[in-house]
Amino acid sequence: MGEDTESSKVNHSFLRDYVTEADVISTVEFNHTGDLLATGDKGGRVVVFQRETVPKGELEQVGETGESGEYNVYSTFQSHEPDFDYLKSLEIEEKINKIRWLPQQNAAHFLLSTNDKTIKLWKVSERDKQPEGYNLKDEEGRVKDISTVTSLQVPVLRPTDLMVEVRPRRVFSNGHTYHVNSISVNSDGETYLSADDLRINMWHLGITDRSFNIVDIKPANMEELTEVITAAEFHPHHCHLFVYSSSKGSLRLCDMRASALCDKHTKLFEEPEDPGSRSFFSEIVSSVSDVKFSHNGRYLLTRDYLTAKVWDLHMEKGPVETYQVHDYLRTKLCSLYENDCIFDKFECVWNSSDSVIMTGAYNSFFRMFDRETGRGVTLEAWRETSKPRAVLRTRRIYTGGKRRRGDVGVDSLDFTKKILHMAWHPEENIIAIASTNNLYIFQDRSLNACAHTHTH
C-alpha cells in the first residue's frame, strides 16, 4: 500500500473511515457519450459528474487527442425520498438501485433512476441565459406597481452563470409489488423495462399510468416459489429482445414478437451444475447478480458470486468463457454466509470493444479479464494508493506457493470493502469504480493509469 508516514493521517483515520449509510454509492452509470457520469446512493441522492473539456490548445501541448479532463460535479439532486406503503406497513427505501441514461436527443439530458418501487425520469438541463427586463415584474420577480411603469421594454436574454437544472419529468409508480432490481432503456428510444423479483414491466417513457407486464414468474401458489428474477436488460440493437437472469443461474432470452406475455423464453441459457462442487451454498453461489449484453449484441456477461461468465447468444448449453473472480473464497462460503457477504450482488461490465470484462471483489479489489488471452488482473481502488496520476499496481491474493511481497492473504481480506458497482466509459478506457462512499475514476492514458477520486 502507499506510504502512510504522516501521523496525522493515523489520527484522523477513524474519521475518514466513518461512512454514513446514506453516502454509500449504490449505482454508477456513464451516459451514452461518456461525458456524464451519474451515481446514486443509499440516501436517494443522485450526483452527476461531467467531464471537463480541455481547450484544444492545451490538448495539442499535452500531445493527447480528445477530451482528457477530469470528472467534476455537475449536479446533485435528491431523486427519491423514504416512503411508506401504508397498505402493507412496509417502509420503502430511498436507495437508488439503478440509473440509466436515455440517448441524448436535444440539449438536455434525461436519466431514469429507480428505488425499490418507483422509477423517475429526470431532465438535466443547463441554463446560461436569463431573461431580464420584464415590464410587470421587477428584478426579483415581484409584481411591479402599475403606476410606476412609465415605458415599455422588450425583455432580453442576458448570459448568466451556468446553472444546471434538474426536474422530474415523469414518475412511474405503482408498477411493482416486489423490489425493482433493474431498469433498461430500449434501443427504440421510447420504451424501457423495469424488473422486480417476479415480474418485468415495459413502460413507455411518455406514459406513466400504464405499463405492460411482459414477464410474470410468480407461481399461483407462492409456496412453490423456486426462483426469482435478478436482473434484466434489453438487447442493444434489437428492440424486441431482452434477457433476464434468475436466482438459479439461468438466463432467458425473450422475444416480444412471439407473444405479449413472454413467460415462455425464446432461449434458455443454463449450465448444468457440477455435482462435485455441491455444497450447502451451491444455490446462493450460482445466483446471477448481474447480466450485461456486449456492445455488439452477440454475447452476454453474467456474474455470480464466484465467477464471471461470457455466453454466446447462439449457444445455450453453457458459457463460452468462465472467469474465476475469487475462487479462494470457495472454502470460506460458510463464514461468508454468516456475515451476509455471500448475498453481495456484484456488477460486471464490458469495455467498449468487448475485449475486456471487469467486475468487483472484496478488499477494494476489482478484476479485469482479457478475453483474448484469458488472463485476469487484480487492481485495487484504495485511497491511500490512488494518488492523482498514480499508476495502478496489480495486486495478488496469496493462495499458496511462493509468496511475494505485497501479496495479500485470504484471511486478511477486508470484506467490508466491497466493489459492487462500476461502469466503463462507452468509448474510451475510463472506468468508474464505487467503493462504499468513494468514487474512483481511472483513465488509461497510453501507458499510465491515472486516478482521481470523489467522496460523498
Binding site: L90, D197, M222, V228, T230, I284
Partner: protein, 303 residues
Amino acid sequence: MEYKVEAHRIMSISLGKIYNSRVQRGGIKLHKNLLVSLVLRSARQVYLRDYYGGICLSAQQAREWCEGEYMDSEQDKLVPGSTESLPESDGQSEVAVDKQEPGNVVESHAALDVESEASGEQDHAENGVLDLGCSELKTPEESLEASPTCEVSNVVTTISSNCISGPPPSNPKQAAETPNGCQTDDGESVEENLHEPIVPHTCTNRKRSAEDSELTDSLPKKTKVMSSTLISKNDEKKVDTEEMDTSNVSSLITIFGSSFSGLLSSEDGAQPDSEAEDSDSGQICCDQMLKNLNPWSTAIVAF
C-alpha cells in the same frame, strides 16, 4: 458427524437471518429469503441423511410395532398424565448418532414435560423445547419416545398443548405448521407419537429416533425444519421426509417472528433468560399461528 454439526449450525444461522429479515428496512427481501430457505433445506437434508446413518434397524422394527398403538392414543392429547415416564427417557436420549447436545436437551425437555403439565412454567418448557427444536431436532422426539407409547403420546400431547398454550392441534398438520419451532416439534412429536406404535420403556434412543422420524414423516409439507430433522431420523418414513422438503420459509418468517431467539439457542443453553422472554411471546404467537394453516402464502400474498 462434522456435517451434522455444521448442518445444524447453518440451520440456526439461517433461521436467524429469516427472523431478522422481518425487521430490516425496506421490507422482506424475497430473493435473499428464498436463498436462505434453500440453504436451510440443504442443511436439513444433510442433517437428516447423517441421522439416518445412525439409526439401527431394530429401532425401526420397534417403531413399526408401535405404530398401530399410537393411532389410538391420538385422542389422548389433552391427558396430562404420564409425564413421569419422560424422565426415564432422559438417560436414553443419546441416539445412535452421537449428539451430546441432544442429551442435554432431552433432559431439559423431559423436565419441561413435567412442568408443562402444570403449565405454570411454560416458559421453561418452551426454553427446553426451543432448545430442542433448534439445536437438536432429534431431541424432543427422542425424549418423547423414550416413554411408553401411551405415556409418550400423553406426554407429547401435554407438551405440545403446553407449548402451544392452547388446545393441541386438532390434526398433525396444524401441529406441523405451528409457528414456534419448538412448539412445532412438540406438536409433531405428539402427532407422530400418536401414530407411532407404543414403545416399551426399554426402547432405545434409536427407537425413539425412528419414531421421531415417523412422526416427522407424517407431518404435512408445511412442517418446519425441526420436524424435518426429526423425520430424517426415520429411514422408513423417507417418503414422508420428502414432503417436508417443501417447507416454506415464509411460514417460518411469520412463525418465528415473535420468539426466535429461543430457537436459536445453542446446546450450551446460553441466554436462557432471553429465551424465556421470547418463549412467552413466541408461545402466544404460536397459539395464534396454530390456527393459521397457510402462514406462508398469507404472508407472501400480503407481501
